[in-house]
């Protein structure tokens, strides 16, 4: 640790408690950061592609997650290193923005860092490298636009959408029934999509899971499921043409917020209070009944007496329904959430074709299905599977597929997958590099090499000879001037991705390149790492 000296040669301390901090500077710092970034990328490298492997992650509480979703792995890894945290952020922002390609973006960033390290060793200034990368990424993104294709789909022709979702799902454990799940995802997205505005609100799609059954039993429900049952065991289990009162007030005597006391000092008062109380319960039920509700869904609990009264008056009710679910129910049934009994009016009731209770397995597991709603825009994907981890992983996979479908509705441009887009970009960037005078040329070439790493990892994971396969595909692309050649991961026999129907979204790919470049630039600009020491 270097000390600073003033003009008289006396040492002075710049940082507080300097001795107790570790500090890395200059090329050392850059190398350490690059190594950390690479280490994170290395973990994810084996998860990429249809033959990618999964990771087991054990949380601090001992819970087990099995996944190959990049964002989830990094999130659960609980990293300590600052640069590694940046990579986690990178994957997360890809997840928020696009929803898919979270692994690819980290692998890409890792490759860029690896290339940068070599350039640093040659003595090229990090900022020049960063600038070179920036230029190259712009070339790549433009090239992607150039090779992208638009395709048409409509509510009747969903095949292209299903194909794209299948590409996403094929790298997950659920690829056994990817067709089924892809169809579900596409149908779900289309039913909530606003095709006019090209917008999809994914909040309207609820993904629920319950262990048991098999993956093939996963279904799309045009309505909402709630993991609750009727408040009284003897209430009807099925209600046709339900008119639903959605309440956020409990079936209990009111509890004013201000502090108060009701004093009882005479027998008369005691009795009036008692009568009032009874009347109160009666009123509440009566109000619901008066507006014509045939089902009450309440966010809070019921008093036993109220519960019986409801049952008695033939008004089925569900209690303790969570806020989010309540909102979804309100959206789906077209009802309004009513905070007070006094404000209950017939117009505020939601409507649903069928509300039924369904039980599962040998335990007393029950769920409430609300179907054929007035507003069919809210849907639920109900996942079944052999064990808890499987369900969780399926949920994540479905989320990815939903995001992909949404992106396609927003922007219907696609590029071909299987690494073909990366290879094509790599060729384009390589060719463009020569036009740039100056040191940046080297950085641009390095960028082209880094682009190769994704197809390389794909080939590696699929058990192919990575270098041979990649160079063969590359020459084929150049020779035939066709950007559709990629890595044949599934051993189909052709490496024309167009024939294999492997698509990815254009914005997803563009975002990957841009985000990866951004993070790498940020890491390259760091030349000093000061951290409190462990000791």
């Amino acid at each position: 640790m270097a000390l600073a000296f003033d003009e008289y040669g006396r040492p002075f301390i710049i940082l507080k408690e300097q001795d107790q901090k570790t500090r890395l500077r200059g090329i050392e710092a850059q190398k350490a950061n690059i190594a950390a970034g690479k280490a994170v990328a290395r973990i994810l490298r084996t998860s990429i592609g249809p033959k990618g492997m999964d990771k087991i992650l054990q949380s601090p509480d001992g819970d087990v997650t099995i996944t190959n979703d990049g964002a989830t792995i990094l999130e659960q890894m609980d990293v300590d290193n600052q640069i590694a945290k940046l990579m986690v952020e990178l994957s997360r922002s890809q997840d928020y923005e696009i929803g898919d390609g979270t692994t690819g973006v980290v692998v890409m960033a890792g490759a860029l860092l690896e290339q940068a390290e070599r350039l640093l060793e040659r003595g090229i200034h990090p900022i020049r490298i960063a600038e070179g990368y920036e230029m190259a990424s712009r070339i790549a993104v433009e090239h992607l636009e150039h090779i992208s294709q638009k395709f048409d789909f409509g509510t009747t022709n969903i095949e292209p959408l299903v194909q794209t979702c299948m590409t996403t799902l094929s790298s997950k454990i659920v690829n056994r029934c990817k067709r089924h799940l892809a169809e579900i995802s596409v149908k779900a997205v289309l039913s909530v999509a606003d095709l006019e505005r090209k917008d999809v609100n994914l909040d309207m799609i609820k993904v629920e899971g319950k262990v048991g059954g098999k993956l093939e039993d996963t279904e799309l429900i045009y309505g909402i499921t709630v993991d609750k049952d009727m408040s009284h065991p003897q209430m009807p289990k099925q209600i046709e043409d339900a008119k639903i009162a959605i309440l956020t007030c409990p079936f209990e005597p009111p509890k004013p917020k201000t502090k108060h006391k009701v004093e009882i000092d005479t027998v008369e008062k005691f009795q009036t209070l008692r009568l009032q109380e009874q009347k109160y319960f009666d009123d509440m039920v009566q109000k619901c009944k008066d507006v014509g509700a045939t089902l009450v869904i309440c966010q809070w609990g019921f008093d036993d007496e109220a519960n019986h009264l409801l049952m008695h008056r033939n008004l089925p009710a569900v209690r303790w329904v969570g806020g989010v679910e309540l909102e979804l129910i309100a959206i789906a049934t077209g009802g309004r959430i009513v905070p007070r009994f006094q404000e209950l009016t017939p117009e505020k009731l939601g409507r649903a074709g069928v509300v039924r209770e369904k039980s599962f397995g040998t335990t007393k597991d029950k769920m409430l299905y609300i179907e054929h709603c007035a507003n069919s825009r809210a849907v639920t994907i109900f996942i079944r599977g052999g064990n808890k981890m499987m369900i969780e992983e399926t949920k994540r996979s479905i989320h990815d597929a939903l995001c992909v479908a949404r992106n396609l509705i927003r922007n219907n441009s696609i590029v071909y997958g299987g690494g073909s887009a990366e290879i094509s970009c790599s060729i384009a960037v390589e060719a463009a590099a020569d036009k740039y005078p100056g040191v940046e040329q080297y950085a641009i070439r390095a960028f082209a090499d880094a682009l190769d790493s994704v197809p390389m990892a794909l080939a590696e994971n699929s058990g192919l000879q990575p270098i041979e396969t990649l160079s063969a595909v590359k020459s084929q692309q150049i020779k035939e001037n066709n950007p559709h050649y990629g890595i044949d991961c599934n051993d189909v026999g052709t490496n024309d991705m167009r024939q294999q129907d492997v698509f990815e979204t254009l914005i997803g790919k563009q975002q990957q390149i841009l985000l990866a470049t951004q993070v790498v630039k940020m890491i390259l600009k760091i030349d000093d790492v000061i951290s409190p020491s462990d000791y």
């Binding site: 190594a35 950390a36 280490a39 492997m53 098999k214 009882i264 027998v267 005691f270 040998t362």
Partner: protein, 566 residues
């Protein structure tokens, strides 16, 4: 870093023992080892106590963990399987004796992630079909054991997975072709149920009286009329007597005493089932409290309170009932009032009891009593106090709805009773599932052999490396009859070979007859299993094996520091 030398020495020593400890021990030394083997020039990426295992090493850890779990429960499989004693670490060090796979695995504290996956599938199997909890773990374990060999032979896990998938599908189809469905023939179907119940029970503690208990279980389930709601079947355990003293009661038995001075026997009872406060009926308006300035006022209010309770009791009596069952406490005062009116009042019947009673007697659970004419009362022919062993219980007989019933289990000790309950529960679950899905297959290794044959056939027709995986799948399937035979102390190699030869004939019903120790005709021996259970075993086991096989890295986060919470 003066201590680094000593770490290195420790590492070297550990390296030799690594394969032994890999599965279970999470010693701090292990992490040091992993950092040492994967040198990172910079500081570590993960937190201090976190642990990362990669590639072969991760795979080995999962294999070892999964296989260890399998070996643990393996010996409980089959009619001659042995039991395990589980001692809890909690207060009292309670002891459970069981051979129910799910119960054993639930009580284990496991750190190995792959083992956790297996425990989870066993739990799901229990929730979903109720039986086959051991088989599913054993099959998954055997699949992994075979996979380990293939991985060692340099076959990529993904290839193994696709082979397993093909094999599982093929096996399932093969089984599907041989199922027997007696849905339309009530007599035959009842026979099927009986057979299934006996097969399930034969591996449990109840095997001595399996005919008796199978009959009990079948009768109980037939009453449900297709519903899978096992809640309606109540199991009461009373120590004393022998297991064969257990009986099925058509009515309902409530483990409660009758209040003092109240009739002990009521014929043509009208029952009001209630959930209401019968202690002090509190004023529910928030913030109400009593404030008085003299003793006489207190007396007055007390009188008013009593009056309120009396009124409530009057209202209840006005329903024209002669039996009142409440979920909550009934205090002495109202109890006395009930006794005066000649009404049998039962307090503190727990929630399940109430729900069941309401179901059995056809009444509704009431909480308000203002309109007696519209409350549905429950009915039964006779309520009486009966004695089982030394305990007095209340028996409701001649009830209207035939769905519910009570099974009273008798046995020498609590452990026997607990285990008997679990066994019976398994049987009931399987039966209720079979009533819904009436397809039935033979048991005792027969389904495995049928599947093996089909899978072997598939392996021969499949080109490429996958065929190795498919073959491995069939070997894993064979492991189940082998284990059953081994557990029974038979010559498994010989028996399984015989069985295989038998199965190459057409339409063969051969399975392992554990009692005589030979290959026998399962149709004649009346050993059957539910198709649904077998299918669930096959699918979940394959799914779990697939899941574990796909893993190439295990990252264990730093355990949460316990001090934080205190």
């Amino acid at each position: 870093m003066s201590s680094s030398i000593s770490y290195w020495i420790k590492d070297a020593a550990l390296f030799l023992f690594l394969p032994l400890i890999q599965g279970f021990i999470r010693a701090p030394e292990l992490e040091l080892l992993s950092t040492a083997l994967y040198p990172m020039a910079i500081e570590r990426i993960l937190k201090d106590d976190a642990n990362e295992e990669k590639g072969e090493r991760a795979r080995m850890a999962s294999f070892v963990g999964a296989i260890a779990i399998t070996d643990l429960v393996k010996t409980t499989l089959g009619p001659k399987g042995m039991d395990k004693i589980l001692q809890s670490t909690g207060r009292g060090q309670e002891v459970t004796v069981t051979n129910d796979g799910a119960t054993i695995l639930k009580s284990l504290h496991i750190d190995n992630p792959a083992a956790k996956v297996l425990i989870d599938i066993s739990k799901v199997q229990d929730d979903e079909v109720g039986d086959g909890t051991t088989s599913v773990v054993v099959l998954a374990g055997e699949l992994l054991r075979e996979a380990e060999k293939l991985v060692a032979a340099k076959i990529h896990p993904m290839t193994i997975i696709s082979g397993y998938r093909m094999a599982a599908e093929c096996a399932c189809n093969a089984l599907l072709q041989r199922v027997v469905d007696n849905k339309d023939n009530a007599v035959k179907f009842k026979m099927d149920l009986m057979k299934i119940a006996m097969t399930t029970l034969s591996s449990k503690i109840l095997s001595q009286d399996k005919v008796y208990f199978a009959q009990l279980a079948v009768d109980a389930v037939m009453r449900l009329k297709g519903s899978t709601n096992l809640e309606a079947i109540q199991i009461i355990k009373k120590p004393g007597g022998s297991l064969s003293d257990s009986f099925l009661d058509e009515g309902f038995i409530l483990d409660k005493k009758i209040g003092l001075g109240q009739p002990k026997r009521i014929e043509n009872a009208k029952i009001l089932v209630a959930n209401t406060a019968m202690d002090t009926d509190k004023v529910k308006i928030y913030g109400a409290r009593v404030r008085v300035d003299s003793m006489s006022k207190v007396a007055e209010i007390e009188e008013a309170e009593k009056e309120k309770m009396r009124e409530k009791v009057q209202k209840i009596i006005a329903h024209g009932i002669n039996c009142f069952v409440n979920r909550q406490l009934i205090y002495n005062f109202p109890e006395e009032l009930f006794a005066d009116a000649g009404i049998l009042a039962i307090e503190h019947a727990d929630f399940d009891g109430i729900e069941r009673l309401a179901l059995v007697t056809g009444g509704e659970i009431a909480s308000t009593f203002d309109n007696p004419e519209s409350v549905k009362l429950g009915h039964c022919k006779l309520i009486e106090e009966i004695m089982i062993g030394e305990d007095k219980l209340i028996h409701f007989s001649g009830v209207e709805i035939g769905q519910a019933c009570t099974i009273v289990l008798r046995g020498a000790s609590h452990h026997v009773l607990d285990e008997a309950e679990r066994s019976l529960h398994d049987a009931l679950c399987v039966l209720s599932q079979t009533v819904n899905d009436t397809r039935v297959v033979l048991g005792a290794g027969w389904p495995e052999m049928v599947m093996t044959k089909a899978v072997d056939e598939l392996a021969r027709q499949t080109p490429g490396k996958k065929s190795h995986a498919i073959e491995a799948f069939s070997r894993a399937l064979i492991a189940i009859p082998t284990i059953i035979a081994d557990n029974a102390g038979l010559d498994s190699a010989d028996l399984v070979a015989q069985l295989r030869a038998e199965h190459h004939k057409k339409e063969c019903n051969a399975g392992i007859d554990v009692i005589t120790g030979s290959v026998g005709d399962m149709a004649e021996l009346a050993i059957s299993e539910s198709f649904k259970v077998k299918q669930a075993v096959l699918l979940s086991a394959t799914e779990a094996a697939e899941m574990i096989l796909r893993v190439d890295e295990i990252i264990t986060c730093a355990p949460r520091k316990r001090e934080d919470r205190m």
